[in-house]
Structure formats: structure tokens, C-alpha cells
């Protein structure tokens, strides 16, 4: 009887923990594996807003999904970009790497040109050049 009760209690606790911790937010200070610091991020949309910056001309290309992981001691990022329009779009992107102190961890990357077909998605990847890079921004620049 006691054992059954204990198992039921443990199951309830596990379920409660599972419900309380939203998927992608298991680790404090991280969302979907990406560092967020003290920023209020409660969805993938919030994360994209925090990490994606547009420079120069506005582009209609948007980041829809982002995942971060570690490969050895280097941060690796996968970002899904979406072209919702009915036209082929050209955009350039680069990652900006930030260190623990909020300073640039590496020199500016080269702009990488990208051609996106109409109504298409593409995943761009970035790997930190150094283990000093603990945060990042994805910069987009329209090439239209």
C-alpha cells in the first residue's frame, strides 16, 4: 500500500515538474539552448526578436526558428529563415559573437550572400570561432 502510494506521489511530482518546465526553457538563462541572460523570453518569437537584427535596408526575410547547442566548447547555432513572399529574395547575413563581458568576442564576419526562392525556408548555421563567444546576434541585410 505504502509503495503504491509512493509511486503515485512520485508520478504526480514528475508530471507537475514536466508541466511547470516549458520545453526549450529547461535551463535557466537559456531558451532553446540559446543564451538569453536576464531578457524576458517566453516563446520562439521572443527569442528571434532578441537575437536577430536587421541592418541597412529592411528585409522581408524573417527568422522563424532558432536552436543553439555546443559542439565541443564552441557554440553552434541553426536559424531557419523564411521567405514568405512570392518573389525570389536576396539577403546577406552574418553572426556577431559576444563574450562574457558583452564585448565583441571576434572580428566582424564576412557578409554571406543568400538567395531565397519564393515561399521557401532555409537553415543557416553558425559556429563560434572561439570558446570566448558566449552570446551572438544574427545580422540580416537586404540585397534587393
Amino acid at each position: 500500500m505504502n509503495r503504491t502510494c509512493m509511486i503515485a506521489m512520485l508520478l504526480a511530482a514528475a508530471l507537475a515538474y514536466g508541466c511547470a518546465t516549458k520545453k526549450g526553457f529547461e535551463k535557466p538563462g537559456f531558451a532553446f539552448g540559446c543564451p538569453i541572460g536576464d531578457a524576458k523570453v517566453s516563446s520562439m518569437e521572443d527569442l528571434n526578436k532578441l537575437k536577430v537584427v536587421t541592418e541597412g535596408k529592411r528585409t522581408t526575410i524573417v527568422a522563424t526558428e532558432m536552436r543553439c547547442t555546443m559542439t565541443g566548447d564552441l557554440m553552434k547555432i541553426d536559424v531557419n529563415l523564411n521567405n514568405d513572399s512570392s518573389k525570389v529574395k536576396r539577403v546577406a547575413y552574418k553572426f556577431r559573437w559576444i563574450d562574457r563581458e558583452g564585448m565583441r568576442a571576434w572580428e566582424e564576419e564576412v557578409w554571406k550572400p543568400l538567395l531565397m526562392y519564393e515561399s521557401s525556408n532555409i537553415t543557416v548555421s553558425g559556429v563560434a570561432p572561439t570558446n570566448k563567444a558566449v552570446d551572438f546576434r544574427l545580422i540580416l541585410l537586404s540585397q534587393e
Binding site: T71, G72, E109, V110, V127
Partner: protein
């Protein structure tokens, strides 16, 4: 009464404007630009291509087991063969890759074949009587590389009346010098199309 001089002056005005415009167009202007911007002046091998290749290869190599193991492997740079129809300074590409890898702090580089002559000359120069024997570089102290980096670049060029398409493929390999095994290899592809009109 018509003022003739005024009419003549009015007729001269468009002419003077045209001359001023032409002079303005002919004016040469030099400005500093963004060295990392996308360069599309022609569709030949460009600074952007060099930077894209160097960055892509470096980031990929940093994830390889040979480099990521953290043992500070010693690498030597060998030739990157230019198999394209145009002149490409492949040494500039490998120099950029070497600099980025060196800065990452995960790799050490041994003197390569191209710099060997200078290295030998310097060691021999230090054997001279003018140098303090305690501090001179001794013969037989150089460290051999555990890995050698080599590669090639090819291009496929297609041209029709109003279109020119260039495809580049850069391939880089990291070979284990002790056992001859290929430890890492990756490619970077670039396509550029120029159309007229």
C-alpha cells in the same frame, strides 16, 4: 525692346550646366569601403570569395576531432592547387585560414615547405660566432607537424550570349602525417551569375 545680351545669357545657361555636369561626372573620387562587404564588380574570384572560403573552412575545421580534442595539434600548410582557368593566389586563402585557426588558440603551426629555406638560413646564421651560444637556436630542435593541410580549387565557367555563370569548389583536407589517414575534409561551393541588360 528686347535685351539681346540677356537672351544670349539665357541661351548659354543650359550649355554651362551641361559642361558643369560633365565635369562633375568625370571627377574621380576615392573613399574607404567596408572590407567585408559583398564585392560583385565582376564575377571572377573576389575578396568576398576568399573571405567566405577562409571563414567556412576554419569554422568547419575547428569542429573536427583532430582539432577539437584540445591537444594543440601541430599543422603544416601545403599547397592548395589552383585548377581554375583564372589566376588565384591560393596562398592568400591558406594564409587567412592559418591566421583564423591560430587566433582560435586551438592549433599550432609548424614551418611549411615555402618558409623552410628562411628557417634553415636563420638557424645557420645563429650558429655564427657573434651569437650567445646559450640562447641560439640549435640544429635538430624543430618540431615536425602532426597534420598537413592541403587542397584544391576548381571552377566551371559557362558563358552564353548574355549570361556568364561561374561555379567554384574549394576543397580542403587535413592529413595525418604519421599514418597517412585523412582526418578531416570539407568543401565550400560558390556560384555567381552575371547577366547583361
Amino acid at each position: 525692346m528686347i535685351d539681346l545680351s540677356h537672351t544670349r545669357r539665357l541661351a548659354l545657361l543650359p550649355l554651362l550646366t551641361a559642361v558643369a555636369l560633365a565635369a562633375g561626372c568625370a571627377q574621380v573620387q576615392t573613399r574607404y569601403g567596408d572590407e567585408r562587404s559583398i564585392e560583385t564588380v565582376t564575377n571572377q574570384f573576389s575578396s568576398t570569395d576568399l573571405q567566405l572560403i577562409a571563414e567556412s573552412m576554419t569554422r568547419s575545421m575547428l569542429q573536427s576531432t583532430a582539432i577539437a580534442s584540445g591537444n594543440l595539434p601541430i599543422v603544416t600548410v601545403q599547397e592548395v592547387k589552383n585548377k581554375t582557368s583564372e589566376y588565384i593566389d591560393t596562398r592568400a586563402v591558406t594564409d587567412s585560414i592559418r591566421s583564423e585557426l591560430q587566433k582560435s588558440g586551438k592549433v599550432r603551426f609548424a614551418v611549411d615547405a615555402a618558409a623552410m629555406q628562411q628557417q634553415v638560413e636563420e638557424v645557420e646564421r645563429q650558429q655564427g660566432e657573434y651569437y650567445d651560444k646559450e640562447q641560439t637556436a640549435e640544429k635538430g630542435r624543430m618540431v615536425g607537424a602532426q597534420y598537413r593541410m592541403e587542397g584544391n580549387i576548381i571552377s566551371i565557367v559557362k558563358q552564353a550570349k548574355d549570361i556568364r555563370d561561374v561555379y567554384y569548389k574549394f576543397n580542403l583536407q587535413l592529413w595525418n602525417t604519421r599514418n597517412g589517414l585523412l582526418e578531416w575534409s570539407d568543401e565550400k561551393e560558390i556560384r555567381k551569375t552575371t547577366t547583361k541588360g
